[in-house]
């Protein structure tokens, strides 16, 4: 029996609108405004000092590396990197000992931008600003649930850790698209070096603003902000649940109220979280202890120049090499797993005509498929896979020296134990069929079945399979069936 709650499919006639806020912890050595270590999983309250504890008389000083990471993120998201300043966001909650969080308000370091989903859709970025993380509260007693807790315990190791908050435009239209956006953003953040991308450790945290509206409507419905989703899967489930809840509410005559809702993974539903009045009045004002940040143009330019190619560019490159669509599963997988260099290696071993990077599209497409299938399903083995050996194997398959089934077998063996594909193929008895040998076999098969050959010659195409079957049998599966088909057609 499934424990999944039944989430009815959204009624037709409604459109879902999703905007996401992603908090990304930066991989600096130290916190945003003090020299305490930025490190996950340490003993509680060991990385704290007067600045991050908010003790009187302490003063924050901005971490240069955090600014650089923020600029890297902005550049990767096509944002405008601009002069910015910090504000205090005031609220009373024990996760911030200062009773305010230093954040950016009306002038963020990165304004605007976009990213491109593998399917080609462009999602707008509103801003990507710097702020400090809060401490970690754990609610204890009453089985760990907030409402039943008897007390809360606070660890300030995380208080002051640098974050970049990336706010998307309300451009996503389904839970799948929201997941694809986070997946793509995570890949970009990892590529910039700013993040380790670990959602399970909280280095990447996602809040979703979800609303629904009648299909075709230009106006937005009232949105709810969903928190506490710890994986892409939770995000998808939470959005689906929330969409159904809002549609049902409206269809039964109710009204969606703007509020923050907490995703309960176990129960599979969202629940209203913050009910206190004035919760949204943060009384932002300029942080008097910090001066503005105005990154010099040369600095921004050198940071931009140091960025590696982003996933969308890499997908375009692989697509161009192989002729496969940039959004195809194989291309997306190759780039997500960083296997681009395997495809490039095949190009490096050849100078095919009509090639991008040395491999013809047909050869590169074989490399993409092998990388996205066999290599992707054995990443431990992939770490030891010689690029040149992989390239050699792909060349053996593309030339017909190995059938695709044989190539897969040889590759699996290479992933398990390394080695040269030629030696492995020989060891497995996959001797190359001389093309002359194949011709002789095809002719023998034709000679042995004159009646079928006559019908095939008169246009009964489906008999090709009959002949190929016999060629396969006669060669114990070693024949390159594409070549055999070509021979068959040439004899007709």
């Amino acid at each position: 029996m499934s424990t999944e709650p039944v989430v009815p499919a959204p009624s037709s006639g409604w459109e879902t609108v999703i905007g996401l806020e992603v908090h990304c912890e930066l991989r600096t050595q130290t916190k945003l405004f003090c020299g305490c270590r930025n490190s996950f999983g340490e003993e509680p309250n060991t990385n704290v000092c007067p600045v991050c504890l908010g003790l009187p008389g302490s003063l924050p000083v901005l971490n240069r590396a955090a600014v650089e990471y923020a600029i890297r993120i902005g550049a990767a998201l096509h944002s405008t990197v601009q002069a910015s300043m910090f504000h205090r966001k005031n609220y009373f909650y024990p996760d911030m000992p200062k009773d305010y969080q230093i954040s950016q308000y009306d002038v963020p370091i990165n304004a605007g931008g976009w990213l491109t989903l593998p399917g080609g859709r462009r999602i707008g970025i509103v801003r990507a600003h710097l702020e400090e993380d809060t401490g970690k509260t754990t609610h204890v007693g009453g089985g760990g649930r907030i409402h039943e807790a008897t007390r809360s315990l606070v660890d300030y190791n995380r208080a002051g850790v640098p974050l970049v908050e990336i706010v998307s435009a309300p451009d996503m239209r389904s839970a799948d698209e929201a997941r694809a956006y986070v997946d793509e953003l995570r890949a970009i953040l990892v590529a910039t070096g700013a993040s380790d991308g670990k959602m399970e450790e909280g280095s990447l945290r996602v809040d979703a603003n979800v609303s629904v509206r009648p299909a075709g409507s230009e106006e937005f419905g009232t949105r709810c902000e969903i928190k506490n989703m710890n994986s892409l899967r939770s995000l998808g489930r939470a959005v689906d649940y929330e969409v159904s809840r809002q549609i049902q509410l409206i269809e039964s005559g109710g009204v969606v109220s703007q509020e923050t809702r907490h995703w309960d993974e176990g129960a599979g539903r969202t629940a209203s979280m913050r009910s206190k009045e004035e919760a949204y009045d943060y009384r932002y004002f300029p942080e008097p202890d910090l001066v503005p940040v105005d990154p010099p143009e040369e600095w921004v330019a050198s940071i931009k120049a140091s960025l590696p190619p982003m996933p969308s560019e890499r997908r375009e490159r692989i697509a161009e090499m192989s002729g496969l669509p940039a959004g195809s599963e194989a291309v997306v997988t190759v780039v997500r797993l960083g296997l681009d260099d395997l495809v490039e290696a095949v190009g490096a071993q050849g100078a095919d005509t009509k090639s991008v990077g040395g491999a013809s599209p047909a050869v590169a497409a074989i490399a993409v498929k092998r990388a996205a299938n066999e290599v992707a399903s054995d990443l431990a083995g992939a770490a030891n896979l010689e690029r040149s050996s992989f390239a050699k194997l792909v060349r053996m398959e593309s030339s017909g020296q190995l059938t695709s089934a044989q190539a897969r077998t040889v590759l699996k063996s290479m992933l398990e134990a390394g080695g040269d594909p030629e030696v492995i193929a020989e060891g497995l008895g996959f001797e190359a069929m001389e093309s002359g040998g194949l011709e002789a076999i095809v002719d023998d098969v034709i000679a042995a079945h004159p009646e079928e050959w006559a019908r095939y010659s008169e246009g009964e195409d489906k008999l090709a399979g009959f002949f190929i079957g016999h060629v396969k049998q006669a060669t114990q599966g070693k024949a390159d069936l594409k070549s055999a088909s070509a021979l068959l057609r040439s004899r007709r």
Partner: protein, 100 residues
């Protein structure tokens, strides 16, 4: 002409700041804050076309430090300042509503 500040405004801001004010204090602070806002209004009447907004009194930008670890405080010293401690963490009363 913008409306001037009322005792309701002051009571609202005081609530946000968790300040408990007596009726007499509310009246007094409303008068004082109104005087401050009147002064701001005087400044507002000046022509500031072409004047860059001032975010800070200091003529400085980009005060940055290198990303180098400096020693943190000793935990026992830190937790000695906590009203209550449990499991090396600050123990606080049960919290309603989640953190932001």
């Amino acid at each position: 002409m913008p409306r001037s500040i009322t005792t309701d405004d002051v009571a609202h801001v005081a609530r946000l700041a968790r300040l408990q004010l007596s009726q007499e204090e509310l009246t007094r602070f409303t008068q004082q804050l109104a005087a401050v806002l009147d002064h701001a209004r005087d400044v507002e009447s000046l022509d500031t076309t072409g004047v860059v907004p001032t975010a800070h009194a200091l003529p400085l930008v980009n005060v940055l430090r290198d990303d180098v670890v400096t020693p943190s405080l000793d935990r026992a010293t830190v937790l000695a300042e906590a009203p209550e401690v449990e499991d090396h963490r600050f123990r606080v009363p049960k919290i309603l509503g989640d953190s932001q």
